[in-house]
């Protein structure tokens, strides 16, 4: 049994709905479908969810919202028409939206969530109705019936463990089930949404709960690239990745979706396949728990800017038990999370995401470190970029560090920082932001072009 998730662009209009219906029909194992809200049909189009959010804001401000309301309804009425569905489908969607609007104007704390959820909910109704029209046994399953129980954090719900057992019972159902993504219900029955892009989370939760043999995530790209296509033109595509590789690649601003969405699937060892709705026969990218042996090479290069290096030096630092811990404690007190903290004998560097240490916090943090740790020198270097080479087993492969370092040298890029050995599947390099592209291009050449 496979759980299949379709993203916004895959359910943008009737044509797409027909496409995904073909995809569903192409494989009898595609029994449970999770859908997003209708996305963009053309570049300047607006996603349904964004329309719903604007609608909600107008309602909150008690301003006229009829125009946007009709835009939303139109998106669904067009689909219903073009797919030749009965009017009842649309009126059902309408009433759900109107109910949500009244919750918003009544200032109910989950009012906005309820309204935002209408996009996915509507898609699910449309799709199940269309599947029925095509002669398939199919039902819309509301997340509450499905058993997606979540914590009460509007806009950022977390799944509760009870959900998985409850979801497993859906296996008994014979027909094709269509579940709207993006939201769940608290044990008290309150609708709450996940963070944005939450349909990926829903799909992954459902796949985990149903112990699916595969979680197919249909989106609008053919597969995951081995490097940021904005830096390297038409880079190689990844046919297979392990969870750990995906995690590391996603980390440095690299991935088709947020890796955390996949955690429920990962934890239950459900293989994940990323495919393109517009090219369903393409191989896609498989994300598995373990890759076959003898594959110890670099599979991808992740990179991201927006890091800073907080450098401190203090004579005889390494004789001072607890220095490093105290420094990290100060950051923790100030709610600054750090990425890495390589330390030398008399020096320590802490790599932090730029936004974690805004200018206004900086002065105070610097002052605390100077005062409490009596450092000889403190320097903050912003505009740092991180590059991560990722691949299972690579850290046990002689010569990879050498190949990488040579690539930096050939690009005439100085390596500000190397962090290898902490992770078994990655090697991290820090460079000046303005040298990121040159460095990544050179690394791509070294690891993916010549062999």
């Amino acid at each position: 049994m496979k759980v299949v998730k379709f993203g916004g662009s895959s359910v943008a209009d009737a044509t797409q709905i027909k496409k995904i219906t073909n995809i569903i029909e192409a494989d009898k194992k595609r029994k449970v479908i999770v859908v997003s809200a209708p996305g963009k049909r053309f570049p300047d189009d607006t996603k349904t969810t964004d329309l719903l959010i604007r609608l909600g804001e107008l309602v909150q401000k008690q301003e006229s919202y009829t125009a946007i309301y009709h835009q939303v309804i139109e998106r669904f009425s067009l689909m219903v028409e073009d797919l030749g569905l009965q009017k009842v489908v649309l009126s059902q969607i309408k009433s759900t939206i109107e109910e949500a609007i009244s919750k918003v104007s009544a200032r109910e704390d989950n009012g906005m969530d309820t309204l935002k959820a209408c996009g996915e909910d509507g898609t699910a109704h449309v799709l199940s109705a269309y599947l029925q029209n095509q002669g398939h046994a199919s039902s819309y399953v509301n997340p509450k019936q499905a058993g997606i129980l979540v914590s009460e954090q509007p806009g950022g719900a977390l799944v509760l463990n009870e959900s998985f057992e409850k979801l497993y019972q859906l296996r008994e159902r014979e027909e094709i089930l269509v579940i709207p993504g993006f939201f769940g219900y608290t044990p008290e029955g309150k609708l709450v949404t996940f963070s944005r892009g939450g349909s990926d989370i829903s799909g992954s939760i459902v796949a985990a709960g149903l112990k699916a043999e595969l979680y197919e995530n249909f989106t609008d790209v053919d597969s995951v690239f081995c490097v940021n296509p904005a830096i390297v033109h038409q880079p190689k595509q990844l046919t297979s990745l392990t969870y750990r590789e995906m995690r590391e690649l996603s980390y440095a601003g690299f991935s088709v979706f947020h890796d955390e969405a996949l955690i429920p699937a990962f934890k239950n060892k459900i293989p994940v396949c990323i495919k393109n709705t517009n090219n369903p026969d393409g191989k896609g990218t498989m994300i598995v728990s373990e890759r076959a042996e003898g594959n110890d090479h670099v599979v991808g290069i992740a990179s991201d800017t927006g890091f800073l290096n907080l450098y401190v030096s203090k004579y005889l630092m390494n004789r001072e038990i607890g220095f490093g811990r105290k420094l990290l404690q100060i950051l923790e007190d100030e709610e600054i999370s750090f990425e890495h903290a390589p330390s030398g004998i008399d020096d320590m560097s802490v790599i932090i995401r730029d936004h974690q240490l805004p200018k206004d916090k900086e002065a105070m943090v610097v002052d605390r470190i100077k005062r409490e740790l009596k450092v000889d020198m403190l320097d903050i270097e912003r505009n740092m970029a991180m590059i991560m080479l990722v691949g299972e087993g690579m850290n046990q492969t002689v010569g990879i560090a050498s190949k990488a370092a040579a690539a930096f040298r050939d690009a005439n890029v100085n390596i500000e920082m190397i962090n290898q050995g902490s992770s078994e599947v990655s090697m991290m390099f820090g460079v000046k932001s303005d040298q990121l592209s040159t460095a990544v291009q050179s690394l791509y050449k070294a690891f993916f072009e010549v062999s």
Copy 2:
């Protein structure tokens, strides 16, 4: 004005005393001399300090000590004779030793320190007497007169800041001053010794206090080697080093003496020169605060075994603020000091000196980490070795990492860990202990043989 320190082998017998007298005469600026206790005259010889320690132990156990007592006296009587000094010099030394012995048997808490100090004290008396015989104005200056004030920690005294001002007054003295190394006095007038090898500490303190233009440290090696001679046969010698380079090199079990002895000199920016008593015209090694520009290369390779890697991994570790800090806190609670703690996304490695985590402590520490941090995986890998490339400015030089990594690859050694960027003057690599020599030899070849 130069402060000159002579080590044990440089004052082992009359011949050596004559040698160092020539050295002192060769440069009028050599006005203040700090001496060790007579060291070995031949390979199987026993150092005077070791004789004194045995003597003290016998006294404590109330066993007969006459044999060893005579051995000690003989070392000095031979010198006094061979140098043609007056008997009074010897009787003075004798009485000092006997006084010390009585302190030991009287169980005075600084008894042993007082006895251990007799070696240096005797040498100072002998040398100043001989300098006088050679027609020089010279005096023996006891550390108390000199103003070397220390904390009351028998066998591990620390210098008190008052000392430096007091010492500066010695500049007014016209004659050549000979000060015994290895001990000082508490403000209450109690004799206390520094840690073993303390004459280096004394020399450095005196040089700092007198604001000497140079602190010459005469020992029995021509200079500092750029790599451990036990690993590379007849390696290049270092003519110049900066304090920071010396620190980093000393760190990984590498140096002619413990770098901390030089701290007083370093802190006062007194240049240090390491020379060979048996080859005084040799260039030696200069240790300075800053090296001339345009010298951004590797000056030395330090290496040491006896490290372990405590590796933990936990899914989503990097989303958990305070994880790293908590791990280091546990180590701190157990009084385990760590060397480095590189961290990845879901992994963290802590490099620790083997002896810091004895087997008996291991179980408990592992248990705490598993219980308190709920890690998914914990692994301790002993038999790790660290290799450090040292050189000012090297981390700003493109290509050094590449050259180093290539050297490891050529030696077919896998790099278990790289730590670069924390220190500006070094780059650290972790390898399996049994591969240390191969790796270091390959690095030496890359950085010191080919150019």
